[in-house]
Symmetry: C2
Subunit: 208 residues, 2 copies
């Protein structure tokens, strides 16, 4: 793409580095910002830079945080004896948005994936074992993706934790709400049969 302004060209190139943003979209965003007040664009720019500069990772759960301890770990209303193990920050946000979980998290920072060169030592596993060991954790919920890597990680963690008297659970696999039975893969369908629930439970929880 040919631009008659280096200022525009540089800004477009910076936006185009973002995932899923091509040159055309980048140009649209830049031309939009060009129409905004300078103060508004400075605010955008400063907010993004400040986020990266000041963000911390919670020393307990490795979640993103504004302080040493994240707002979830610091919340006295959360049950610290129930720890939900997730792959990434994104999963914390997803689960928080359900407003159904009242415990705390542990962000692994990835899952075991030999093909990508990610072994247990690259993940926040040691600190999870420490938490279980020292802080009276009663239940560890494995909320990992239902993939081979996710299952491998769950298996590895459960072996690491088996010395301590902690209950280990995983989130339910099954047919998603609104999902059509015939399009579900065999594995999911099989597990949802194996882990079938008494109808009373289902009716109690209600549908959406």
């Amino acid at each position: 793409m040919i631009f008659s302004s280096a200022l525009i060209e540089n800004a477009v190139n910076e936006f185009a580095r973002l995932p899923g943003v091509g040159k055309k979209t980048a140009l649209r965003l830049v031309l939009h910002l060009l129409k905004q007040d300078t103060a508004q664009v400075e605010l955008f720019s400063e907010t993004v830079a400040r986020m990266r500069r000041q963000i911390k990772f919670c020393k307990h759960c490795h979640n993103v945080s504004d302080d040493e301890t994240c707002s979830i770990c610091a919340n006295p209303a959360r049950h610290t004896n129930v720890v939900c193990v997730v792959e990434s920050i994104r999963d914390v946000i997803a689960i928080e948005n359900t407003q159904q979980f009242n415990g705390v998290y542990h962000v692994l920072g990835g899952i075991i994936s030999p093909i990508d060169g990610i072994g247990p030592e690259q993940l926040n596993i040691h600190s999870l074992v420490e938490r279980v060991q020292q802080q009276g954790v009663e239940e560890v919920i494995m909320a990992l993706s239902p993939t081979i890597e996710g299952d491998t990680t769950i298996y590895y963690l459960s072996k690491k934790l088996k010395e301590w008297p902690v209950k280990i659970t995983t989130i339910a696999r099954g047919i998603a709400f609104g999902g059509e039975l015939e399009y579900a893969d065999e594995m999911t369908l099989a597990r949802s049969l194996t882990n079938r629930l008494p109808l009373e439970n289902y009716l109690q929880q209600g549908s959406r």
Copy 2:
């Protein structure tokens, strides 16, 4: 969406103000930037802010510019006697990318649209008339969108310019390359028939 960090939340909200960027996409962009080096994010942020802060509009053609005069108007190889009138900066970039135009531009900053409250006085029309009057412009090419508003603007400009010995042309309307005849609207099809070309011309210009 619930975030456990105000830094993240603010950055997501800023991205979500951009056109076509929802909360989910904004979060994806923010989490991507979180994984980048601080220096890289500062560069992104500074490039965007500098663009808005330092951008100028060319005093001749109103195109975006790094200086008083844009790089197109300042280029001695461009023919200043052929002026291409466009609605916006975006159109300048589109035409420049064809690499087929060797004249200069005049950016109106919009088109006449009574429904949106845009009349001739809101557009850069006075400076166009001045250029034609004072700078020996020989041809004005109207490269406006083929809409009612575009045609209204062309009609208005042609009346404004009719006192001066300047040739006024419009870009060709017709069936787009790769366009299916049966899906073309009647107006376009009609015009492409009226303005039909001798086959020799067509073959000379080649297809893409």
